[in-house]
Subunit: 308 residues, 2 copies
Amino acid sequence: MIDTLIQKIQETGSPIVVGLDPMLKFIPEHILRAAFEQYGETLQGAAEAVWQYNKGIVDAVCDLVPAVKPQIAMYEQFGIDGLAAFQKTADYCKEKGLVVIGDIKRGDIGSTSEAYAAAHLGKVNVGTHRYAAFDEDFATVNPYMGADSVKPFLKVCQEENKGIFVLVKTSNPSSGEFQDRLIGGRPLYELVGEKVAEWGASCMGSSYSQVGAVVGATYPEQGKILRRIMPKAYILVPGYGAQGGKGADLVHFFNDDGLGAIINSSRGIIAAWQQEKYAAFGAARYAEASRQAVLDMREDIAQALANR
Amino acid sequence: MIDTLIQKIQETGSPIVVGLDPMLKFIPEHILRAAFEQYGETLQGAAEAVWQYNKGIVDAVCDLVPAVKPQIAMYEQFGIDGLAAFQKTADYCKEKGLVVIGDIKRGDIGSTSEAYAAAHLGKVNVGTHRYAAFDEDFATVNPYMGADSVKPFLKVCQEENKGIFVLVKTSNPSSGEFQDRLIGGRPLYELVGEKVAEWGASCMGSSYSQVGAVVGATYPEQGKILRRIMPKAYILVPGYGAQGGKGADLVHFFNDDGLGAIINSSRGIIAAWQQEKYAAFGAARYAEASRQAVLDMREDIAQALANR
């Protein structure tokens, strides 16, 4: 799957993933109203609004980007209906040729991680049949419980040609609380990065591994070090835009081949219409605002890479 | 909610939580057959089997134990249908007077953790209405991303009288890979334990905090130290039974007041009918086997506490 992702990045010239993290406050009034008229102000109504909003954005950007990253929490808060909208969104994105990175941050002891890996990347046996439940292309994984929480995901990656991104250094302000603690003089995130490199060696694509890492755009210096520790890991970089990361911060996440990183933007793209910069589009043309935000982000990254 | 949990532990004399982690291989043939006849060998059929199986166990043990802990991964693997069975199980357990600990191990950056906290413990706004999606009583939380991933859960605990158990030292063999790494001479899990104590101080019940910790029965020596570091935290202890933890290993997780710990057993109870010890019950009486396994576990723990 990493080969497919790289191919799509090269085709589009966009090392960009659109974070489909819908919040009701991002959704234009006309979409909310239509959904609530159909289903009432219910969880089902909210889920329908989320789906219609996502669909508009996906239609507007699918030729420009290689991948999307739906954040499952934003769907899970609307219960079963929300999770059905997550699945519908993931399926639709795949139909449109997009790589789907499920931002699920799961991780548990062995047999339980097996179930999560089956749920999101693999298949589950029911009698004599096998089913893929959510069937994303990649998933994000939390490493706190150690290797035996990650290995079931590696097995599925090998069997099903899927991939994972392991949390290494996250973009949030308090990520350092545990991740930066020094162990023998080196921060924990470096040790996790070394494990990512080790795990990834067993799941290689043709040039990069199916096992990537999450490293926040908000920590460019750490990104520089982690780039060296995990040369074959694709780095999924959240924190661009709304969280404060800029194009110039991103250059160290890339290898000299111009590959090795994919930058996520969520509200910076999906809620572009609410920003002053894109206000002229208005609520009715929210999806066009998202398209313009992708074009601007692509340009920002390309310039930063050209100037490095 | 911690006060309710303690009250139920005292009423039943069982510091025991039944892990509702159904795998199809645990489910008696007659239940599988009936579900597959109704819905086919589909995800819906699997979910129906899981629900019927759970219901039998819950009916058989609900007067003996204070709480259940459904592991959401085991439901998530069956997709939307599986998650509907999770919700149905949680709702049914609450009807039966059981405290429901959602074993979800979520954790993400601030706004995303807010969504998870709303999904599982709190409420979400839809227009002028507010809905609780999964509405468990407690949830397990992964701390790797630091305080701002945990704080949204604390806020919901305060507002809604709910609780969390933060992963500190997990029961799996490779939990030490990161959790045991020494930071200034002390293992990471101790630092996480200190944070749990700090976070918990803002969410006190009458004697214990709404913020508890997960510490595996498989690590009793570490449990002894963590008990001291987090005196007001209830410790949820997985790893008893199938993972190798014994009654005698558990005594250090309890405080001198006989409280402070609740011991989880999953397959040791729910798949008791498949063990040699309980084979006489047979598949038809699988739920009675679970009941007997709870009684035996209660006795094992009571003896260990009496002998300490």
